[in-house]
Symmetry: C2
Subunit: 345 residues, 2 copies
């Protein structure tokens, strides 16, 4: 049998209530008694029962994450594993756990949130992959679930946000290519339903416009390798193809780069390429992929912290802004038409 609070009370010669006060740091016991209770609790090896505590305090001591993606696409995305690992570093320290749901079919996303809320599985959820006009915000308000969002949605949201600006890195990449002498710089974007698909495109377009360059070389893809190749084929097949492509993530950049090479193009001699995410394999590609190094581990850890603080009422209401990821220049980007310095291969 496990040691209960009553065992501690009996051993310390006090009532259950006093033990509860002592253990939770509340007023109602003298310092002497508190110390005595704490030491007997430690001596008996008492640990609180999560279930009992959940019932009486109406809390789950768990956070939820609903991942709504085609699992096949999800499989190639390096974001979530690191992100989840980051969440866990925070949660484990604070005695919380993560309840993960993968919503594959349409409509199962909403029902996942409903179920988590209705069963009281979690005290709050982390919203990732924010979309334009994201219906989840109203849903969570209806359900009364706490939440934190990754980046601030463009529609009003009462939830705190943990932000990692992705426009700066994209702008940096575009400017880097312009500085190298490129004038026809394309963008293979992610789905524009996602705010990070949209914001990356906008950053690309804005930087080009600031430099007086055209913004016609855009193709929307879905962050997956297959559509990355298709978008690349589209761009390279145009009458006046780009000399550089800024991809919205490494997967599409990798696939696009491989496609271009198979078409006989030399990289970066004939085509410069940049990615986003700084995936582990990016530096091992030939040529190594210039990329923007986001930090999902830190993002996850920060998001969990903000949400826990929010639940405990210690969050100050301000959005947390993490350092913007920076461009890491590697061999895949150089001056156009052989004016590069690194050599092609």
């Amino acid at each position: 049998m496990r040691v209960t609070i009553s065992d501690v009370a009996r051993a310390a010669g006090v009532s259950k209530g006093a033990v509860s006060y002592a253990l939770n740091g509340q007023a109602g016991v003298s310092e002497d008694t508190r110390r005595r209770i704490l030491s007997t609790a430690a001596a008996l090896g008492w640990t609180p029962s999560l279930r009992a505590r959940s019932l009486s305090s109406s809390k789950a001591y768990a956070l939820g994450l609903v991942v709504a993606r085609d699992p096949r696409l999800l499989g190639s995305d390096p974001f979530f594993p690191s992100f989840i690992a980051g969440i866990e570093t925070t949660l484990a320290d604070r005695g919380y756990s993560l309840v993960l749901t993968v919503a594959t079919k349409t409509g199962s996303e909403e029902s996942s949130y409903r179920r988590l809320a209705h069963e009281g599985r979690v005290d709050g959820v982390i919203l990732s992959d924010m979309r334009t006009n994201d219906s989840r915000i109203a849903l969570l308000l209806e359900l009364g679930l706490a939440a934190v969002t990754l980046n601030r949605p463009e529609t009003p949201s009462p939830f705190p946000a943990v932000c990692m600006d992705d426009t700066e890195g994209i702008s940096e990449a575009v400017q880097h290519l312009i500085d190298l002498g490129h004038t026809r710089i394309a963008h293979v974007g992610g789905s524009q339903h996602y705010i990070h698909g949209l914001s990356r495109r906008n950053a690309w377009a804005n930087t080009l416009e600031l430099n007086g360059l055209a913004t016609d070389l855009f193709v929307e893809a879905d962050f997956g390798a297959v559509q990355g190749v298709a978008a690349t084929a589209d761009l390279l097949g145009r009458a006046n193809p780009p000399t550089a492509i800024v991809y919205a993530n490494d997967i599409m950049a990798t696939a696009g780069q491989a496609y271009a090479q198979q078409q006989g193009l030399r990289i970066p001699h004939d085509l410069s390429v940049t990615g986003y995410d700084n995936t582990e394999y990016a530096q091992y590609l030939t040529p190594a992929l210039s990329s923007i190094g986001s930090d999902p581990l830190r993002w996850g850890s920060a998001a969990a912290q903000v949400l826990l603080n929010q639940l405990e009422g210690t969050h100050d209401g301000e959005d947390v802004v993490l350092p913007a990821p920076r461009l890491i220049t590697r061999g895949s980007s150089a001056a156009p038409h052989g004016r590069n310095t690194t050599g092609s291969q």
Copy 2:
């Protein structure tokens, strides 16, 4: 306020206990009363409180999955997202949830299991990535946690296993290459600490020996792209290099194939290649990658089912054997030295 069992009892004019019996299908109420109770419960919109039920029945109504991998490696593995999605299809139907833990640092794997057990977060865990002499089996016995293993470990295990034989697909791939005329067939294996790393190597070696061929062309890697490239470089740099390489997964095959192409080899003309997992992008590579199509979705669903049955005492004790994945032949494998029929490119 939510509707409780007492509300239902009052409305139906019976005691709390009777309602509990009726709702759980237990003896102790007449059929008439049961129907009346059920209909009033439905009318009031009653749903059980997970927390109250957890406390009184000492169950968590949740399963655990501890993923112990370098998160960077994990990011490129398409297995887990689909696998988790499969688990969920079963769990959601039965009112269970999944508690996910990512163990990154050494030692955190064991403490993760300890925490899940000690806090009573889960009723059982799914053991994936089985290792030779897997210490988790003894650990879980000590903790008194139920479990199911993916494939049967070579050491005695009291837990049911859900098996998906991976030797058959590898043997098929090797035989396929032999039938095409290859005699120097290499294997880039995954970590040999994993039983699926070991079994794939054994299948490769056995099939070669059955055909009287040498088994010296083996390099161990870690299932990651980077080591896949290194292993490929090792093999291709040997005095008598292989004409075909059987990789233990698609990631290494993809990276290896790209490396070989960058070295000027034509695939499949100069080198045939096969993968494992049948990743979504495999069919879009140039050439499309011959691979072995495992089914993580189904595996996850089956594993969860077996574990839930085990918890409910309705599991028959037999291991569940799922259909062995088969080889899907694509453009990356052909007869050696230009005697291929599909053409190179």
